[in-house]
């Protein structure tokens, strides 16, 4: 006790200094660790998705000698388009498989053999025959899409290390090996994934329908939310008197920006579908719900852009006799446009990734057809991801990851566009 009293302040400080410096270092390390954790999660997420999904961009094809004879196809009159459309294409494919593996016998083994190729192969043959009727009654060497289980097996076999066998048993593995040894298996770029709609068969499933649905939904969202958002922002910045009503509008906008998206889905179900009797699953309804959701974002960023236009420009326009509307339309809006567009793109990017409200309004239905307009039932890319992630087939995991990569690609492009717009076009005063 006595000795501490005699200590100088500087001694006290020096005594604790090492401890305090250690604390300082620890504190700094916590900060770095937090940032590292965040970035690590980001990297892990991306590598996980890419690692799971990159294989979906290629698809295995199996080469078969298919004899397109009219008898097996059940075509008696080649000029009749109905017969061509309804012919027994799977029959010739099965026959070709039996000829390729002549020693397979027994019902069950044969059925397993037929499962080497996709059961959508018939459609491909039909398309070929429709395009070129002269190949009827000839022998053709055709590459057919492999079934999803076989495809998964072939892909995992080409990567060395442990081979994933999944639902492919020893016998089928033997067939695939003999096909591979004879160079009758090929992996090609998976065009089906980008040109087909949804399907129950993973090897036939594509994201074209979902992309078109997203496109139409975004179109509706853009043409509704951008003009309305800009108009609201102009009113609030340029016209609104300071009164209770204006305050109410502002409070409302700020609160809507933080309302969970699923609530907008409830609104869509109750008002658009329940009250107005609109159909479910339409991009039109989806776009309207997303409009209400993105409006606050667009209004807030547009207001910021309008605020950034210096008052001197307004005063100059008014001073030489422009009316208020002329001042806004001819000067303020063009100058604020880059900022407002940036906000709109960011709002749209948010809407593009949104899933929950669209589930509510029924865009979760299984739709094979590719939508042709805003009034065709459709699904959107995030909902397609949700649907596929629920499917038990293993081949859907890689397709889900690939769809996520496509979605993230779109989002990155949109955000990059927003950043570019802000950097290149925004003027600073």
């Amino acid at each position: 006790m006595n000795s501490t009293e005699k200590m100088n302040t500087i001694d006290l400080v020096n005594k604790n200094l090492a401890k305090r410096y250690r604390a300082e270092k620890r504190f700094k390390a916590y900060g770095i660790a937090s940032i590292g954790f965040g970035l690590l999660c980001l990297v892990f997420l991306f590598t996980d998705i890419i690692g799971k999904g990159y294989t979906a961009f290629v698809q295995s094809y199996i080469q078969l000698e298919v004899n397109l004879d009219a008898d097996t196809l059940d075509i008696s009159d080649p000029s009749d388009p109905n017969q061509i459309a309804g012919a027994n294409y799977m029959g010739v494919v099965k026959k070709a498989l039996r000829e390729r593996f002549p020693d397979v016998s027994g019902r069950r083994d044969k059925r397993k053999l037929y499962r080497l190729v996709s059961n959508g192969s018939g459609f491909d043959l039909r398309k070929m025959l429709e395009a070129d009727p002269s190949i009827l009654n000839t022998k053709q060497t055709i590459w057919l899409i492999a079934d999803d289980d076989i495809d998964t097996y072939i892909k995992s076999a080409s990567k060395d290390g442990k081979v994933f066998t999944g639902r492919v048993d020893e016998q089928a593995q033997g067939w695939v090996k003999s096909l591979i040894d004879n160079d009758e298996v090929e992996t090609r770029f998976n065009t089906v994934f980008f040109t087909n709609g949804d399907s129950r068969e993973p090897e036939q499933a594509g994201i074209r329908g979902a992309i078109m649905g997203s496109l139409f939904t975004m179109f509706v969202t853009l043409i509704l939310s951008f003009p309305i958002g800009v108009a609201a922002a102009v009113y609030l910045e340029e016209y609104a008197p300071k009164n209770k009503w204006t305050d109410l509008i502002e409070v409302n906008i700020n609160n809507l920006a933080a309302v969970p998206s699923i609530i907008f889905g409830l609104l869509g179900v109750a008002i658009f579908i329940g009250m107005f009797g609109m159909q479910r699953s339409l991009p039109l309804v989806g776009g309207m719900v997303l409009t209400l959701m993105t409006l606050p974002t667009i209004i807030i960023s547009s207001r910021a852009a309008i605020k950034a236009v210096p008052p001197s420009i307004r005063e100059a326009a008014l001073g030489i006799g422009a009316s208020k509307m002329q001042m806004i339309l001819h000067h303020v809006l063009p100058l604020a446009m880059p900022g407002m567009l940036t906000g709109a793109i960011i709002g749209l990017a948010q809407a593009l990734g949104e899933t929950a409200p669209l589930l509510m309004i029924g865009m979760v239905a299984f739709i094979v057809d590719i939508p042709g307009g805003v009034a065709d039932p459709a699904t959107v890319l995030p909902v397609q991801i949700f649907l596929w992630s629920d499917s038990p087939e293993r081949a859907f995991v890689e397709r889900t990851s690939a769809a996520i990569m496509v979605l993230l690609g779109f989002l990155i492009i949109m955000n990059a566009l927003a950043v570019w717009l802000r950097k290149r076009l925004e003027r600073r005063w």
Binding site: I35, F37, P260, T355, N415
Partner: protein
């Protein structure tokens, strides 16, 4: 004529009205001694005619589209035979639905005769409605446009009128925000009131059992349908709590490091990189949680000898926390930057280290803002849907163990509402009651957070 062609026609008419109005003002101007004799520029006269042509007809069109289904519905019911009309309302609406579906899909060739008749009536009514809409909308456009056109005189204050109309349109657009809120409140409130008329509100808020399956037959066993929402609230809070335990320390420390320690170069790289996390769609996080994180946690638990469910609250909460990190960090970053430099300088000048300054001066000064940010993050976590839909469970467990599966309010809303359902079963209506709870809680949190942040800002401005 379908609606989009009609819109195109109206747009053409409006363009024509603009040209005509402008032309008439120019013609009158040349009689009265040049454009200077006009009150406003010629294009304002054109604009005014355009507005006269467009607004009334678009209003008619909008009202028609909203109400024609209702009117056709009523007329269709009137046209049905007596005995069908006297059926119970649920049964009747079911029949009407069948008829409408059959008419839309073109089937029904071998349905009962009264249904065939009804389909014919429905198609006739829809056709008539379509024709009448085209006729009325175009007629209104032409009539009001012409009227506006005849009003054009050099003395007409076209500019003032157009500017007023412009202002009113802008005001209307900004009121859409209020309308949306009103729409949300009304839609969840009305359905919730209907729900609470079937299930007492006390059972809903204080009940501890949730199994929304309703009995299809009256004598069915085990299908009574229990709507006690406590397990959902507990599940939501558990997952949000896990998310906050991940997000708040990580987000806050990241914000502190970035704003107090990092050089501007590091900052300009790391901050956008962290914000990528906020831009990733929630469905992607859901996929990540369900297929990567949840199995990983389950396997780790297995190694440690714990039995972890593959739909554990931990996986959903962890991934949700990762999603919220940038949210917390950017909000805290803002408030930490708003703390005046003089406070830091004072503290450093007295000899405290940088971390002491941060802990004892900067953080206390920024605390209200940080708390506001955390409240916003909590409301975000409570309302988050896709991660929990994909990674959490459907079964309502009343537990506080993060390794067990729990369900949340948003998961139940989605499960109850996805798919075709009638609007009057308690099962569907329960979703709206849950929505009401969610809306009230998130709104309250946002309100509180904005209030706290605003108070704090005033302190240093």
């Amino acid at each position: 004529m379908d609606t989009s062609t009609l819109f195109a026609f109206l747009a053409l008419l409006m363009a024509g009205a603009f040209m005509l109005g402008r032309g008439r003002s120019l013609a009158q101007a040349s009689n009265a001694g040049g454009v200077r004799a006009l009150n406003s520029l010629p294009s304002y006269y054109g604009m005014l005619t355009l507005l006269w042509c467009g607004i009334p007809s678009l209003a008619v069109l909008g009202a028609w589209i909203i109400f024609d289904d209702l009117i056709i519905h009523q007329l269709l019911i009137q046209s049905l035979p007596e005995e069908i009309r006297n059926l119970e309302s649920t049964e009747l609406s079911l029949r009407i639905n069948t008829i409408e579906n059959m008419a839309a899909s073109g089937m029904g060739a071998n349905a009962e005769p009264y249904i065939q008749n009804a389909i014919a009536t429905l198609e006739r009514l829809q056709k008539t409605s379509g024709y009448a809409l085209t006729g009325v909308a175009l007629l209104v456009a032409v009539m009001t446009g012409l009227w506006g056109w005849t009003r054009i005189q050099p003395q007409l204050k076209a500019r003032n009128q157009v500017e007023n109309a412009f202002k009113i349109i802008l005001l209307g657009c900004s009121c859409l925000a209020i309308l949306t809120t009103v729409g949300i409140v009304l839609s969840v409130l009305f359905e919730s009131i209907r729900f609470f008329s079937m299930i007492p509100i006390t059972d809903f808020v204080f009940g501890s059992e949730w199994s929304p399956q309703m009995a299809i037959r009256a004598d069915q066993v085990g299908g009574s349908g229990a709507f006690g929402a406590i397990p959902l609230f507990v599940g939501t809070m558990l997952i949000s709590l896990i998310a906050m335990i991940v997000a708040v320390p990580a987000g806050l420390m990241a914000a502190i490091y970035l704003s107090e320690y990092a050089s501007s170069r590091v900052r300009s790289w790391v901050k956008p990189a962290l914000e990528i996390l906020a831009g990733i769609p929630t469905v992607v996080y859901g996929f990540f949680a369900a297929l990567t994180v949840a199995p990983m946690i389950r396997d780790t638990g297995g190694v440690l000898g714990l039995s972890v469910s593959s739909e554990s609250a931990l996986a959903a909460g962890l991934v949700m926390g990762i999603m919220i990190i940038p949210f917390v960090s950017s909000l805290s970053d803002d408030v930490i930057n708003a703390v005046p430099q003089s406070l830091r300088d004072g503290s450093l000048g007295l000899g405290s280290t940088q971390s002491e300054t941060i802990r004892q001066v900067v953080i206390p000064a920024a605390l209200p803002g940080i708390v506001g940010g955390i409240l916003l993050a909590v409301s975000r976590a409570i309302g988050e849907t896709m991660i929990v839909v994909m990674a959490a469970s459907l079964a309502a467990n009343l537990t506080a163990n993060p390794l067990e599966p729990v369900t949340t309010v948003t998961v139940q809303i989605v499960t109850l509402l996805v798919g075709d359902q009638e609007f009057d079963s308690p099962k569907t209506l329960a979703a709206f009651a849950l929505g009401l709870m969610l809306f009230i809680v998130t709104l309250g949190l946002n309100f509180l957070a904005l209030h706290v942040v605003k108070k704090y800002r005033e302190q240093y401005d």
